[in-house]
Amino acid sequence: MPLLRRRKPRKKRCRHDSKELEARGLELRIPEGGELVLLNQFLILGALLFSLGVYGLLVRRNAVMVLLSIELMLNAVNVNLVAFESFLRNAGAGGQIFAIFVITVAAAEVGIGLAIILLIFRNRTSANVDELDLMKW
């Protein structure tokens, strides 16, 4: 990443002994930078995004807006997945692949969700969730 290329490498901080890693069949990749980037800053951002999504999910009246909030929550999950992928150094792209899966499933979910909303709208001429209370007493 040219954006993040450091001018002079700092002291390398490795938490793993290279020999120990080699014994486990893993390759030690010494990073070029980003030593002071904490994992937690991403996790907290993810938690914030997720909570905002929860808030929107609970408070919005329009079904489309509820779906938008769900997208926000899924996005929070993606942030966490990619951050963990970066954090665990030999994850073999698992985090990113699952982020891709989440994106795919989210796309499917939006398609179905909007189809359902469309159907509700057709039947009730409103897409407000609080008017859908057929399940009550």
Partner: protein, 676 residues
């Protein structure tokens, strides 16, 4: 087994093949063309078919002619020297499992190639005439070619994955072609029914394939069968379940009871489709699967043959009986097909590998022929119903002649094809000592002859009752029928016990050796009984359904008592399936509850009320009602009040539920942290 039969079958042997076979040379190496050419033709028809004078039909027929010639060459090579050839190309790899595409040329597959190539070539030619003036002939030929390609893919499969791909491909083509005239709702639902029923069965096939492949570590059929023949312990543990699951798949495709319901409905498709797919080739895929995996069923999973035998036997008799009551000529033939498939499956179950495949071979000829004949009649009369036919012997001589040849072959009259194959199956039942099955098989032979005689008499004798003037079909349709009629006569001569048993050697040309029974000489008592049953069937048909001008009125309305209602409702199987889930819950139980309610409960309640009233009047005067009333009313009111409050929890508002879920999740996490 009785001693008499023992004597007769003294010459029978348990075959052991340990001969070195040839590899088929360049023709076997290039056998992938068999699969590729139809698929290329499919693409060509889709893209260029519409611009051609025959709407793409000529490409389809050309491709089938190629397949037929190539298959004939392979067949001849196999006949001369015996070929066992297999080649696989890796397509993808998941872990240690390789997904491969390949092709097998051995006795079994080259027999199937020939059947498919020959029938497809003839029926495609026939379809040129039959589908003339259709709404979408291009699409018909495209889907038909797709079917041929998928069927060849299935038959040529050296591994289970490719077999499943071909299996689903023919299922897809079947769905498309049954619903070819989808403007009619009935046709498209018939297509869907076929698809659904087959899907149910396919689950068994897929799971079975995995069950067998995982202990061996390979999807290759030869690897699985080598492990079976080598008595590998890993596969022995799963052999029974794998074999049983594969058979469930075969039950769907080969329309075995109770999954046979889709095949009669599949007759909604054009008649060439019924002839090629739903009579000659596709429905025999299940039998082919059993044959391909036969070394597994031979010894290791011999217990799995018991359900195969039972299901086959049930199928052969119930479907045969159903054929008796149908008015739709194609449905007669459809049930007949189910019944004959029952014979094949039962033969496989009885351990008669050759007999089952031999019946597949002869059945392909005469049943394909019968369907083409029926199609020719339908084409001329514009109705499927035999009540609209009659007296067609004069205007349609070629159709009549060939149809009768097919009928006699199917009925098993000496020396036509069906005689030899059916007799071999019956002899195998006898040899293995399945007397009950033998009896049912003989009854089945009687029923077969009876309903076919009925069909012939109702269709070709008596007076014509339809509209318009019936006429003979064009040459492009009659020529294939004449060829098939010839084959229906001579097709059985390739396996005459004691005289010439070439067929046994052809289909025995396999990479694996396995024990299998086939007769070395005729089982004369069985021959006599079988032939008598067939003759009796035809005679019975003659007496009940032969129509001339005078007797016609009486004959037309004839219904066999007792049996008829049951059969006309197809043993109520469709009703059972349609209502089987809903009605037992909704209908009888509700009715039972209602009955119980109005008689038993009401009786009890009334009686109790009567007694109580007498008692109460007594108590009322003695006990001060205020104390008790207060207590009871208090309970009632407080319950009502509580319910009124708690029911407010169920607001029906989704988001409040979601909020509760969120809070619940949070509390769970806190709980884990605090108490974990």
């Amino acid at each position: 087994m009785n001693t008499f039969t023992n004597l007769v079958l003294a010459a029978a042997e348990e075959a052991e093949h340990s001969i070195e076979y040839g590899d088929g040379g360049i023709f076997a190496e290039w056998a992938w063309l068999l699969v590729i050419v139809p698929f290329v033709a499919f693409v060509a028809i889709v893209f260029f078919g519409k611009r051609l004078p025959r709407q793409g039909g000529e490409i389809a027929v050309g491709a089938m002619a190629f397949v037929f010639i190539y298959a004939a060459i392979l067949f001849v090579i196999n006949t001369v020297e015996g070929v066992v050839f297999e080649h696989s190309v890796e397509v993808a790899r998941i872990g240690s499992f390789a997904i491969e595409w390949g092709w097998v040329v051995d006795g079994l597959s080259s027999m199937m190639y020939l059947v498919i190539g020959l029938l497809a070539f003839l029926i495609f030619t026939y379809a040129l005439g039959y589908m003339e003036g259709d709404v979408r002939p291009t699409w018909f030929f495209a889907a038909f070619t797709l079917f041929a390609g998928s069927m060849l893919l299935l038959v040529s499969a050296p591994n289970l994955i490719q077999l499943i791909v071909g299996w689903e491909g023919v299922g897809l083509a079947s769905y498309l072609l049954i619903g070819h005239w989808w403007e009619d709702k009935e046709n498209s639902s018939a297509g869907m029914k076929a698809f659904y029923v087959n899907k149910v069965a396919d689950i068994g096939l897929v799971i079975g394939a995995f069950v067998l492949a995982i202990p061996v570590g390979s999807f290759r059929i030869s690897d699985v069968l080598d492990a079976v023949v080598g008595n590998s312990g890993d596969i022995e543990a799963v052999a029974f379940w794998g074999a049983a699951l594969l058979f469930i798949g075969a039950m769907g495709k080969s329309a075995q009871f109770p999954l046979h319901v889709w095949l009669p409905d599949a007759m909604a498709g054009p008649t060439p489709v019924s002839a090629l797919m739903h009579a000659a080739t596709m429905v025999t895929a299940g039998v082919y699967l059993l044959g391909r995996m036969y070394p597994l069923y031979a010894e290791m999973a011999a217990e799995a043959r018991v359900p195969v035998l039972i299901i086959g036997t049930i199928t052969l008799i119930i479907a045969g009986l159903l054929a008796v009551v149908q008015d739709d000529i194609k449905k007669v033939l459809a049930y007949s097909t189910v019944s004959q498939l029952g014979y094949m499956v039962a033969a496989m179950g009885a351990g008669a590998y050759t007999a089952g495949l031999f019946h597949l071979w002869t059945h392909a000829f005469f049943k394909g022929l019968l369907f083409l004949g029926a199609g020719s009649v339908i084409h001329s009369v514009h109705s499927n119903n035999m009540s609209d036919m009659g007296g067609l012997r004069k205007p349609m001589p070629v159709t009549f002649g060939t149809f009768v040849a097919g009928t006699l072959a199917l009925a098993g009259i000496f020396p036509l094809a069906g005689f030899f194959s059916k007799d071999e199956i019956l002899a195998a039942f006898n040899y293995e000592g399945y007397t009950a099955v033998l009896v049912i098989g003989v009854v089945g032979a009687f029923v077969t002859a009876f309903y076919m005689a009925r069909t012939v008499f109702l269709t070709f004798y008596g007076t014509y009752k339809g509209h318009g003037r019936p006429h003979e079909s064009p040459r492009v349709m009659t020529m294939p029928m004449v060829v098939l009629a010839g084959l229906a006569v001579v097709g059985g001569w390739v396996n005459i016990p004691g005289l010439y048993t070439g067929f046994t050697d052809w289909v025995g040309t396999r990479a694996q050796t396995f024990a299998e029974h086939h007769a070395e000489s005729f089982d004369w008592p069985v021959v006599a009984i079988g032939l008598t049953a067939a003759f009796l069937g035809i005679v019975a048909g003659y007496f009940l359904y032969y129509r001339d001008e005078e007797t016609q009125q009486a004959r037309d309305s004839f219904r066999i008592p007792l049996l008829w209602p049951l059969l006309e409702h197809k043993y109520y199987l469709d009703d059972l399936y349609m209502n089987g889930i809903v009605t037992p819950i909704k209908g009888p139980i509700a009715r039972f509850v209602d009955w119980t309610n109005s008689y038993v409960l009401d009786g009890i309640v009334n009686a109790a009320g009567f007694v109580t009233r007498a008692l109460a009047r007594f108590v009322y005067q003695d006990l001060d009602q205020r104390g008790i009333d207060l207590a009871l009313n208090g309970v009632a009111y407080s319950t009502d009040d509580l319910a009124g409050r708690t029911r407010l929890l169920q607001t029906g508002k989704v988001q409040q539920y979601a909020g509760a879920t969120v809070i619940g999740a949070v509390l769970l996490v806190i709980g884990f942290v605090v108490f974990g």
